[in-house]
């Protein structure tokens, strides 16, 4: 591949070397058979089941690239991203990086019983801001989130879109060398999505590296310079955005890009 030799000269920022991720989970004895449901509390057989979520993925990311990560649900994208961020330990292989990657994912709110403001303060402190810095940024973070009206309510009262807004705003208040956005914007409305994508591009242009996991091929094509397609825990394709997205669309059977 011609593109690859050109990349080789640039400085690598993330190296994923033959990464495997296995989860051990307690699963009930039978796979989704109706009989299992009727069993009593004590007769349920607990069995350790191993899920091999990522099976030997390798790639090298160079400075200034922004990578779209696509794949069907349950293909191992999020597991891989969490491993790159160092939040999930790998079972085999290793991830190397020039700076600690930050992950912005969907999922639980930070601290459901605390108000939005307090979540901003704690999130900022955990990211390494001093109390003074976070106080001076507080206003701009609230403005970015567009949640000023609700900022004094406990986060458990937020809708999923609102908490996604708040979490993105907290994370985006800092410049990250390597930022991983894992479907964090999927629940946001179009207005916020536009604003966040603009912010991500801005970060990318400041020599930051961006991973964007998304099911919106439009977002991927707008923001990314390279696309990685993960399927069933394996790296299926890695290359030019349009090429990979077209192949993926053919695979899932959709003929429009949206």
């Amino acid at each position: 591949m011609a593109a690859k030799t050109k990349r080789e000269e640039r400085k690598p920022v993330v190296v994923v070397d033959d990464v495997h991720i296995r989860y051990k989970v307690f699963a009930s004895g039978k796979k989704a058979s109706g009989a299992g449901i009727r069993k009593g509390l004590f007769s349920r057989k607990l069995r350790l089941r191993e899920v091999h979520a990522v099976k030997g993925v390798s790639f090298v990311i160079h400075e200034g690239e922004s990578i779209g990560v696509i794949g069907t649900n349950g293909s191992g994208k999020s597991s891989l991203m969490r491993a790159i961020a160092g939040l999930t330990p790998v079972s085999g292989g290793a991830v190397f990086s020039s700076a600690r990657p930050s992950l912005l994912g969907v999922g639980a709110v930070l601290l459901p019983n605390l108000t939005g403001v307090k979540n901003i303060i704690l999130g900022g402190l955990a990211m390494g801001f001093s109390r003074k810095e976070i106080n001076s940024k507080l206003d701009s973070i609230i403005d970015f989130s567009g949640l000023r009206e609700f900022i004094d309510l406990p986060m458990r009262t937020y809708s999923s879109g609102m908490s996604a807004r708040l979490r993105f705003s907290i994370a985006a208040s800092r410049d990250h060398d390597i930022l991983i956005v894992d479907e964090a914007l999927a629940v946001g409305d179009q207005e916020f999505r536009n604003r966040s994508e603009a912010r991500m591009r801005e970060m990318r242009d400041k020599a930051g590296t961006l991973f964007l996991v998304s099911h919106s091929m439009k977002s991927i094509l707008d923001t990314c310079t390279r696309v990685i397609w993960i399927e069933k825990g394996e790296l299926l394709m890695d290359g030019e955005p349009l090429e990979v997205v077209n192949a993926y669309n053919k695979f899932v059977g959709s003929d429009t890009i949206d």
Binding site: K11, P12, V15, G86, V90, V95, S97, G107, L122, S130
Partner: protein, 282 residues
């Protein structure tokens, strides 16, 4: 050339690699603001939904002490230790600090999974902030204790100042306790079910409401084993500082210093050893 060598050649570091212990502690110290703020906010949030709000910080231990005072005062009759009320209050309040640190420490990683899974920071800040939170709870209780001492006509002496280093040592000990229980519950969730029994047993064997010397007077072997029980040592030392008729013996000082520093160091190392593991779901 393998990818790993290629990465190292360009100065990349392995992600998630556990920092050295000294680096780890330095990182935690840098973010101490987080630990303190987190404990203050969670204390507020815990009481926010109650009508009496933060008054519960004082009401709860008072009710507890009154109930224990009535029940044990009645049951024990004449075999009550000297200066029973200050004796009991010291025991109950300090004990609840230790038992809550153990309990909250145990849930500090498993109970904050949202935080652990979305942000990276030295995980020891979570058990640490659980202990800070208990310490914040302890302070009004100390005030209450001092009030009780005055009401029951205890002399105010310079010995009372010894409470400051004692509280400091207790903080170190409780932090060690929380670090150990935080890691253990991550490995074995079931332990959180057993902790209430552990604290119950500790309550009955640490001389909270009875004088160990009187009760175990006839069993010298048991008595000398008991003297190494850290909870007993801390409470007895605090009684020595505050309550008439009790002494801060050098043995108690040494026992408390050794326990607190020893357990803190052990807890730090024990917790740090599996830093990479926290946040994994299995």
């Amino acid at each position: 050339m393998g990818l790993a060598d290629y990465a190292r050649e360009h100065g990349l570091k392995r992600v998630g690699a556990r920092p050295s212990l000294s680096q780890y502690i330095a990182q935690a110290w840098e973010r101490r603001d987080f630990a303190v703020t987190f404990s203050v906010f969670s204390t507020e949030a815990a009481n926010a939904r109650n009508r009496l709000g933060r008054w519960w910080l004082i009401l709860l231990p008072t009710i507890q002490a009154v109930i224990y005072g009535l029940i044990f005062g009645f049951i024990l009759g004449d075999s009550r230790p000297d200066n029973f009320v200050p004796f009991l209050f010291t025991g109950v309040f300090l004990f609840s600090f230790f038992s809550n640190s153990l309990l909250m420490g145990a849930g500090s990683i498993t109970g904050n999974s949202g935080l652990v899974k979305s942000l990276h920071f030295p995980r020891m800040l979570l058990p640490l902030s659980a202990v800070i939170r208990q310490f914040i709870n302890l302070l009004p209780q100390i005030g209450l204790l001092i009030l009780a001492l005055l009401i029951f006509g205890q002399e105010v002496t310079f010995d009372w100042l010894a409470l400051i280093p004692i509280l400091l040592l207790m903080f170190c000990f409780a932090t060690g306790l929380a670090l150990v229980s935080a890691r253990l519950t991550v490995h074995i969730q079931d332990l959180s079910k057993l902790i209430p029994f552990v604290t119950r047993v500790a309550f009955y064997v640490s001389g909270i409401f009875f004088s160990v010397d009187k009760v175990l007077g006839d069993y010298p072997v048991l008595l000398s084993i008991m003297k190494f029980n850290p909870i007993y040592d801390f409470i007895e030392l605090a009684r020595g500082a505050l309550v008439n008729g009790y002494q801060m013996t050098p043995f108690l000082w040494w026992a408390c210093i050794c326990w607190s520093i020893g357990l803190l160091i052990f807890g730090l190392v024990f917790f740090w050893k599996v830093e990479e593991r926290y946040g994994r779901e299995d």
